[in-house]
């Protein structure tokens, strides 16, 4: 039977997972909000980050949470470079091209990882996944609690960065009015690349938070990317609080769905939900941008 | 009976009323002008007539039948053709292909559509550019292309949204006779225009829209002397000041 405490535990677990989903979605929505492009390589870049966490942690024996700061910086630079010197120039300023270029990148990255690491699924050694905290009647996973805390912290930091710093103001200016920002002396290409870099840094953090309880294989990012797209569409394209709330909501829906419907149908559930969200939101909200 | 009759249409965008209880009628065979200051709601009114904008209230009737709910493509099939103020060429197609899209509306065969497109394009002075990509045209060329495409649909009513804006005086001088010739062939014309010289030359009936309301109508000379019209353009009290200076 589904006792209230089982359901409550599923809801809380959903919230914990949802916070990390939100972090993945946050990177996506930030890039969309500023560059007005959909980064199709987001999932592949997440996979990349997860492999990096796995390699540093299992290979070099680093504490998994200590891998986050250097990887965040590395991915900030990687994202910056990708947008500035690959995606931007290759797309010739056309949204359709951007989609195809990022699709091409995602295919190359995913299969590059496949060639390097084969299709095997890997997890971190150690038993962090079973480290639980008792909270009233509920048993909660400690890494997930940490994940929730860090994800919320990063979201708040990001918000503060956008609201308070000069770089943040420049990013918001470019998001609102590219031409005006450019006339005011802001280097739009630099801001685009910086935003893309921030989006990728979010992925590096998310990867570090996911790895203790999750697995990685070359295709793992695909599952996350559609979840992230669902969240972003649900929360409103480009909205930071929307991504956060949407992420938490999707986390709970997925957790309850898994509880009531079983795991295999839950997999299709995300895609069906994505389709429904796209179809039922009024066309004007996102149909206007061709 | 008038070919087109717009009765009391209103359109709200959120809290803004773009068009407020506006009415106008266009008799068959006439050239009617629609003028007004920037932001008066002229283009929204054109959108309502051509079916791109749904009115919040009021109705549009065409040849005696109510067409308020008819989508744009059905109105084009019924004989209402429009141009866009911000030109909308099919950039990847050649000039003649652009015009042929319009001609295909009533001529399913490729040979017919191409021949008609070539004729109309040549007539509108696009002859040398027919096989060039539309994206290569100048502003004046694109305006002509808009006109040519709309004309190729074989309309009974042509809605011209600022086809003269952005053209230099000699280009305007070239295009005015074209509009007169189109009308002489029996096409009724309703035009939004800022170039007053052209309006005074072409139109026999004028409507003035200001802040969404129709504030004046009549023949061009009377309308332009109307104090309400002068105030709408030049600000409150302008008419009185002009009177005292005169």
């Amino acid at each position: 039977m589904y006792t209230p405490s089982i359901i409550a535990e599923a809801v809380v677990n959903g919230l914990l997972t949802g916070a990390v989903y939100a972090l993945v979605a946050l990177g996506l929505t930030l890039v969309y909000g500023v560059l007005h492009i959909i980064n199709f390589a987001h999932g592949a870049l997440l996979t990349c980050a997860m492999f990096a966490v796995w390699a540093l942690s299992d290979g070099l024996g680093l504490n998994v949470y200590l891998t986050i700061p250097p990887l965040a910086v590395l991915f900030l630079c990687l994202g910056y470079g990708l947008q500035r010197w690959v995606i931007g120039p290759a797309s010739h300023g056309d949204d359709g091209n951007t989609l195809l270029v990022t699709l091409g990148l995602s295919i190359a990255i995913e299969n590059g990882l496949l060639a390097a690491f084969h299709a095997d699924t890997r997890t971190l050694s150690g038993d962090a996944a079973f480290d639980v905290v008792e909270l009233g009647p509920m048993l909660l996973s400690r890494p997930r609690l940490i994940g929730f805390g860090v994800a919320v912290l990063v979201a708040v930091l990001l918000w503060a960065l956008l609201a308070g710093t000069d770089a943040g103001k420049a990013i918001r200016a470019v998001a609102k009015e590219k031409m005006g920002a450019s006339l005011a002396g802001i280097d739009v290409r630099h801001i685009y690349a910086l935003t893309f870099g921030l989006g990728c840094a979010c992925l590096a953090v998310a990867a570090g938070l996911l790895m203790p309880t999750f697995y990685v294989n070359p295709r793992v990012g695909n599952a996350f990317v559609l979840v992230a797209f669902t969240i972003v569409v649900l929360g409103g394209m480009g909205s930071v609080p929307g991504a956060l709330l949407g992420g938490l909501l999707i986390g709970v829906v997925e957790s309850l769905g898994g509880l009531f419907l079983g795991e295999s149908l839950g997999q299709a559930g995300i895609f069906v939900l994505f389709i429904l969200v796209l179809l039922l939101r009024p066309a004007g909200l996102f149909g206007a941008r061709a | 009976m008038s070919l087109l009759q717009v009765s009391g249409v209103t359109r709200r965008f959120g809290g803004v009323i773009a068009v407020n209880n506006a009415s106008l009628r266009v008799p068959e065979g006439a050239i009617v002008g629609l003028i007004g200051p920037n932001g008066a709601g002229k283009t929204t009114l054109f959108g309502i007539i051509s079916g791109f904008v749904t009115p919040s209230a009021g109705s549009v009737s065409w040849d005696g039948a109510d067409i308020t709910g008819l989508p744009p493509h059905r109105r084009a099939q019924a004989g209402i053709a429009r141009t866009f103020q911000i030109v909308q060429p099919f950039a990847g197609l050649s000039v003649v292909e652009n015009i042929a899209v319009g001609a295909y509306l009533r001529h399913p065969a490729r040979a017919d559509a191409t021949r008609i497109a070539t004729d109309i394009g040549t007539r509108l002075g696009l002859g040398p550019w027919l096989d060039r990509p539309a994206a290569a045209l100048t502003v004046a060329g694109r305006k002509r292309l808009e006109l040519a495409r709309a004309l190729a649909t074989g309309p009974r009513l042509l809605l011209l949204d600022e086809v003269l804006a952005g053209l230099n005086p000699s280009e305007i001088r070239d295009i005015i006779p074209l509009i007169q010739a189109i009308r002489a062939e029996g096409v009724t014309i309703l035009m939004i225009e800022h170039v007053m010289q052209a309006v005074m030359n072409l139109c026999e009936q004028l409507y003035v829209l200001a802040e969404g309301r129709m504030i004046a109508e009549g023949n061009p000379v009377t309308v332009c002397a109307d104090p309400r019209v002068i105030e709408a353009y030049l600000g409150h009290g302008a008419a009185a000041r002009m009177q005292s200076h005169a």
């Binding site: 290759a90 295919i107 796209l278 039922l280 061709a290 | 909308q88 495409r149």
Partner: protein, 317 residues
């Protein structure tokens, strides 16, 4: 099709028609795979190239064509040719359904691409789970070599049938490009508002495009089922075919009738060459495909057909 590209296409088709008569089985295998991808890409091109909407989920049509062809024979004893025809019809129906839902909701650009991807994934997960399609073990077609059963003793015969389909769709594409329907497709692709103002029913036009597109790509799926006589969800509805259909068109020349043929042949040749040099490293050919996609967008947006066109234009000058 413009005249400059006509000659190379004709030569290419003659070569493709002659090769199976002499070639070894491995060559014919290569050819049939490339032609099946060509057909799938021709379907993609009718929608994405001619009419505008980019699909990331043409596997939905490929898989439907494949499964309908296969399931009708293996479970219901329907004749293979009739099953093939039904598969093509089913592709059109699935295209119409996906198109009706998404175009009516106003989805364009990236959103349309993403929703087609999601549809293909739902189909894949369902096909992987339900007994009708054989679930995860897949579906094996009974070997019964009779022309009446769409199975042939010689592989060459099958290559010619695949080539016949490709040529038929090529002719259809050229006819469409030169017709009113083609002009309507192009108008909708270039500017929907302007198309509407000129009397074009944009929704109906897009639905025509996606039904045609779905039918053609489903034919590719049906051919796949008949040639390899085995299907599973990851083959039929897998993202590989969505990617290859799109990639062949981009590389070959988007919106040109012959683009898919050029693109699919070039990609397959390249894929084989990579396998030859890089050995058995899984995924290395796809890494190359991904990079080619980026490179094609960056440096050759008109594709092979476009480059041929400008080359021959320069030659004449």
């Amino acid at each position: 099709m413009n005249k400059p590209t006509l000659a190379p296409v004709a030569v290419l088709l003659v070569v493709l028609a002659v090769v199976p008569a002499f070639a070894a089985n491995t060559t014919i295998n290569f050819l049939v795979s490339a032609l099946i991808v060509t057909l799938a890409a021709q379907g993609w091109n009718l929608l994405g190239g001619f009419c505008g909407p980019f699909s990331f989920g043409h596997a939905a049509f490929f898989g439907t064509g494949a499964y309908v062809t296969a399931v009708l024979q293996s479970r219901y004893g329907v004749n293979a040719w009739a099953g093939f025809a039904a598969g093509i019809a089913a592709g059109a129906v699935v295209g119409g359904a996906i198109g009706w839902l998404s175009f009516r909701a106003g989805l364009r650009g990236s959103y349309f691409a993403l929703i087609t991807l999601a549809f293909a994934e739902v189909f894949r997960i369902v096909a992987n789970a339900v007994p009708l399609t054989g679930g995860a073990t897949g579906l094996l077609l009974k070997l019964d070599v009779r022309p009446a059963n769409f199975q042939f003793a010689s592989r060459a015969a099958f290559a010619w049938i695949a080539l016949g389909c490709v040529v038929a769709v090529l002719a259809l594409s050229i006819a469409i490009a030169r017709s009113r329907l083609g002009a309507q497709f192009a108008a909708v692709r270039e500017n929907e508002d302007a198309a509407r103002a000129l009397g074009i029913d944009v929704l109906a036009t897009k639905l025509r495009a996606i039904c045609l597109s779905g039918a053609v790509t489903a034919a590719a799926g049906g051919l796949y089922a008949q040639y390899f006589l085995y299907l599973d969800a990851n083959i039929a509805y897998g993202s590989w075919i969505s990617v290859e259909a799109l990639l062949a068109v981009i590389v070959g020349g988007i919106g040109t009738p012959a683009g898919p043929l050029f693109g699919a042949l070039a990609l397959h040749a390249l894929g084989e060459a990579t396998k030859l040099f890089a050995g058995a490293i899984t995924g290395i050919d796809l890494v190359l495909f991904g990079l080619i996609l980026v490179g094609a967008i960056a440096f050759a947006p008109a594709g092979i057909a476009g480059s041929l066109h400008s080359l021959s234009a320069r030659w004449r000058r």
